[in-house]
Subunit: 388 residues, 2 copies
């Protein structure tokens, strides 16, 4: 086990109706809040009105910046930074999912920084100061509500890259599973894949002697899949929604990654797919993850076998270790299909004529990523070929 440091200072307030406390929570951090959100759904569901009522009741002034898109754009981040500076915002409130939260974090580090906020994403600078970010979570997926990371897309060249720092971790997150009951099945499924992928990126490591966390990861994956099936059968199942929402936070607050090196290849390859075609991150991961597994399982058959046996109950009777490992990958694909997600680029209705371009871009930025196989042009192309 590697040495590590862990803390999870984000105060998670979880359960029914917790979003109605947002005014008092925000008030702890200041008097002026930028209300940041995506499209019109929070207005349609009445969430917007409740948030504004709570802020006003707490005596908090607010300005708003909506319009965050699924792969959040640098241009909107810059607009947010400029608005916060002019007005003197004390805190950013993200009402939405991973994209809105990531965009809020980018604004939060951009405001006190002298240079261009993209410096943090291009690796030119390290975030050291940020405005506090609060969250009302509306989709279980990205885990950004308690993580220190943020991923932004630069429209100038369609670069989708991430950064992270302690100061970017939200100070509070209000997580009400009821808010996710109105999500369409496709978005729910994309969220579930994102959560599973966050666990698997940590789980697949060549390190031995990380047994305690291995088992927590396996337990989390089993429960997420069971509860995803319940939600697919009944979108209003509060308890199943709650398990998935809390699972999404635990999957990415790093308690499942301590003492071990995660892989993150699938995330990096997927970023090229969603940057180019603007598909949902979870839908992209449902395609890339199985392809990545098919490419790398041979480097670590014992671990892929353990995954197959413990997560999917694959029996080793009459099967070689490799066959058990391969069957695990196939069961995972089967689960993605079961919740309605295609697992190849073509079945997702996307063109397969730009694999080279994607491989090139990915290899440019990420060739050092990957435990089992570094993301060179050849590796990425091979993974994308397997994903065709």
């Amino acid at each position: 086990m590697d040495n590590f440091t862990f803390s999870q200072p984000t105060r998670i307030v979880f359960g029914r109706d917790v979003e109605n406390r947002v005014g008092e929570e925000v008030r702890k951090y200041g008097k002026r809040v930028l209300l940041h959100y995506g499209g019109g759904s929070i207005r349609r569901t009445g969430l917007y009105d409740r948030v504004v009522a709570s802020l006003e009741k707490a005596g908090v002034e607010w300005k708003e910046l909506g319009g965050v898109q699924p792969n959040p754009r640098l241009s909107l981040v810059r607009e947010g930074i400029s608005l916060c500076r002019r007005w003197g915002a004390d805190i950013i409130l993200a009402v939405g999912g991973g994209s809105v939260i990531d965009s809020a974090k980018a604004i939060a580090v951009g405001v006190p920084y002298d240079g261009d906020v993209w410096d943090f994403y291009s690796g030119k600078a390290v975030p050291e100061k940020a405005l506090p970010v609060g969250v009302i979570l509306t989709i279980a997926a990205a885990g950004s509500e308690a993580s220190s990371g943020s991923v932004i897309t630069n429209e100038d060249g369609l670069y989708k890259v991430g950064t992270g720092a302690k100061c970017m971790r939200p100070v509070f997150a209000l997580c009400n599973p009821q808010l996710t009951c109105t999500l369409p099945p496709y978005q729910t499924a994309c969220g579930v894949v994102d959560i599973l992928a966050h666990i698997m990126e940590r789980y697949f490591t060549p390190q031995r002697d990380v047994d305690f966390t291995d088992r927590l990861c396996e337990a989390a994956m089993i429960s997420i899949m069971e509860n995803a099936r319940r939600v697919m059968a009944d979108p209003n199942d509060y308890n199943a929604r709650a398990e998935i929402m809390w699972g999404g936070t635990v999957a990415h607050n790093d308690i499942l990654g301590v003492g071990r090196r995660g892989d993150w290849s699938s995330h990096r390859v997927e970023h090229e797919l969603s940057a180019l075609y603007d598909i949902a991150h979870g839908a992209g991961l449902a395609i890339v993850f199985p392809a990545w597994m098919k490419h790398v399982y041979k480097y670590d058959i014992p671990r892929f076998k353990q995954f197959a046996e413990r997560v999917f109950g694959v029996s080793s009777d009459g099967r070689s270790d490799e066959e058990v490992a391969v069957e695990g990958i196939s069961r995972l694909e089967g689960f993605f299909n079961e919740i309605g997600l295609p697992t190849t680029i073509s079945k997702a209705g996307l063109p397969v004529d730009q694999l080279d371009t994607m491989a090139q871009k990915c290899a440019q930025g990420s060739s050092e990523v990957g435990n089992y196989a570094k993301l060179t042009f050849d590796t990425v192309l091979r993974i994308l070929e397997l994903a065709k």
Copy 2:
């Protein structure tokens, strides 16, 4: 699932040699530290000298108060409070296990309080302010390094009771598994039982729809037991020691208890046993927990069956649900015996003539505790009879 709030602000610094950073960690919180510890073992192992060297290098002034006993005493806490007040300590550093940390927390809340520190334990007052507490952990057991609780024994009547508050959570904990390699098998085993008991107190709840956390609890228990066997076979197995040490923190930092009501009956009954006979808390739990299970399993056979099946792999072939449940309890007893701990009062060499006294005391303080059966005199006596 119940609504809940969760955060884990204690910064855990985990791994080889991390205790050597103690000076710089303490320095973040002030210039004067009370070094609080137990017996002579930290001197014998050289840990004491390394701690002092690190404090001096960081320019921190220190005074010391050793002599914390296994069930930490109120009188020493009062001595610590008076010392800290006279000298103006900024922070308390606990070097030891649960007893030392609990004693440090009691001193920390006592210093800024006008009344008598026992008020917090007797329920007369609620802790709201405390000096910061830092920890160097030397035994994996109590989980006090990242919890908000503290248990103290009042020698005047041998009352052993707990309190807890946000302000009592340590600000940092330096956890080096190497420090636990010199522990004798008996103490190691007692620690393992304490860790398992913290998980089981949370696990055994009549609530349904707490599946995600159920599975994390089961995963944690399986891994703790596997690694305990490795440590019993080879006390110097760093990786197994590391899994247990981190498991001990996770077991009690409350991530395994969110959204559900824990039971805590076994802990309360055990406190009477260790207050009266001064045996190790873990040794007492190895006796009380199986007895408590035998008393309450009938109230929730499905949960005790799930425990037997998922944690011990008990097969239900040819067994009734109740038989599966009972077999699970028997396997747990078997595990405690396997690591060298007796599971009855008499096998532990203790007299059984004071069950009434213990039952009376326990019922006085705790009759509202317990999910399946409240701790009345009759209930406690029945559990103690089963533990004879």
